[in-house]
Symmetry: C2
Subunit: 391 residues, 2 copies
Amino acid sequence: MNANAEQADRRYSVVSVDDHVVEPPNVFQDRLPAKLRERGPRVVSTDDADVWEIDGTRHPITGLSAMAGRSFEEYTPKALRFVEMRPGCHDAAQRLIDMDADGVDAELLFGTLAGLAGGTFIDLAAQDAELAMACMAAYNDWLASEWCAVDQARLVPQCILPLWDLQAAAIELERCIGIGHKAALLPGLPHVFDLPAFASDAWVPLLSTCEEAGVPIALHIGGSIGRKQAAETLGALGPDAGVPAETLVASAPLTNYGVLANVVFSGVPVRYPKLKIVSVESGIGWIGYFLERMDWTYERHRFWTHSQLTEPPSHYFRRQIYGTFLVDDTGIDTIERIGTRNVMWESDYPHTDTTWPKSRELIKTHLGHLAPEILHDVIAGNAVRVYSLET
Amino acid sequence: MNANAEQADRRYSVVSVDDHVVEPPNVFQDRLPAKLRERGPRVVSTDDADVWEIDGTRHPITGLSAMAGRSFEEYTPKALRFVEMRPGCHDAAQRLIDMDADGVDAELLFGTLAGLAGGTFIDLAAQDAELAMACMAAYNDWLASEWCAVDQARLVPQCILPLWDLQAAAIELERCIGIGHKAALLPGLPHVFDLPAFASDAWVPLLSTCEEAGVPIALHIGGSIGRKQAAETLGALGPDAGVPAETLVASAPLTNYGVLANVVFSGVPVRYPKLKIVSVESGIGWIGYFLERMDWTYERHRFWTHSQLTEPPSHYFRRQIYGTFLVDDTGIDTIERIGTRNVMWESDYPHTDTTWPKSRELIKTHLGHLAPEILHDVIAGNAVRVYSLET
């Protein structure tokens, strides 16, 4: 990085790499071709909530997706109406006001109905690929050209892709890069969607495009879980098993350990040495441990497995993988084990975990002891570099 | 603890809380009643391996269960013959010689054919509960009265239980305590075996017996995975999904995060405040993070979930939960976050992870900087207390 770029990234002093839009009702109906509009996502009002309906199937918006501004006592999983949500959930101008109140300069954005890696539409493609593709394009267009257009420097779009056709996904990615998207959202475990494993040649068009364009892939926790697959994937820990809800909530970040191991041992960093890979909302306090564990595994098992790796896993992690966190004292205590350039702060607005409106206060309390250069990297500089925010 | 007991536990200077026996061929045929012997586990020799056969179903012994003494280059998952294994795998006198060479005073023992929580026989019970119960009793008898009898102070048995009948399990536990067993092996996620959730009253007879007798429950990683359930439980990460084997190996310890969360949020420590709970082979370097994460979850979600907990999860962990590790620099760096009385060392002989024959050397290198009292607790004292080794 040259001196100008170092200087330039100082424009951002706090960047959150994981926040969510709650798609407003017009996203799809404004953009779908006439012949698909009837089957496309629309909001219907039931007796107690506003609910998305896609081709006859209903998708309520869980309250846990839109709790910013509520006290913990008011948290609820009950499906909500838009008017029950803080306007910043779905209105970009209001979001900027909330960001100002919180001292956050920029946000990297994920969807709600769309899923954390487009899973809702990947599921939909099994029954209607044309509609699913049109929904993805509508979401990507709306996010970049309408929502984030309100302030392109502060609201940063990330695209979802038609992964059931990886050639088409590469083309849609290039289109999205052209309209300002800064990252590609992928499921951490593609096989959960019956997609090829990351080791497959089928991924070359898409991952090479990401690598060459310098566009990171963002693997959000839960991103492998389409709505249809939720029961199956969470089976061993799901509510039907008599498992308390807090088990799932507390466990969610750590589910990405398997995602990280899978990406690394599948040889993704070997094959795409410049591809940037972000493990989103997974926390960082376990990563020091897991790098040790992956290296230990590599040392002992690489012979019989005929590993493609030529270096221990931690080498690839430090070169091109990133973890994100909200408040994570263990992670900060062990940051040298992870890499001070490999961690990025996030706010998770408007989910239940969000630091809003106390982000600055929490940063001061939990990160204030870091050396200024490291602090800047963690809360802004690393994100500016990873997502190329100023290019 | 009184001064005498403090003194007494110095008899042990290195205790490993996780090691494995490979059951020799006579275990079941020597002990099953005549009418069950024909269907009971027997070893048959195939062209290239010795294989257990139970009522017509074959269970090979994966090489990865018996690699002690091999170089990493020789590691193999290929099913083995007994003569290909280091004798200490299946012969108690030879095990003691290996322990002497490694400087290990005592070992807490798990099975191989039996599964890490008796899963093989829990599965078997669905088709033949009488045979399954007899196999469990035979295993428990053999382990305590034959294998560990070679040196009761150094070879410490842990029992498997007929969990499909939790009243019967409590009775078998009392019998096992009577013959010297020091812990009860349970699956971390009972619903994987279609057993009641830990929150259910059905567990009261067994868990109360453990609590009153001061006998810990040991939840070994992988213990929820019976042979039939392996594919289902590992589905999202399994080999059929094109996932590299190292992903599963590296990930295995961390699978217990959900086990810990489930035990805590199910209210087990609230209901059984003196029950000791051991998370076995899960490593400890992620636990500091996870305690923070569970407390954060409790703070935010306890209202709508109507949590039974009256204190944050970390309170219960420090009071009655323990983690075990082999080599874990991150865990040792963060030991104060976990609790110096909450971690125990293990050797995992004869599995691929084993520290044998370098245990003393690895302890010196990785733990040698700890204060002497803390070092003693971690490599012996905590285990002596948790498993009541000298009572």
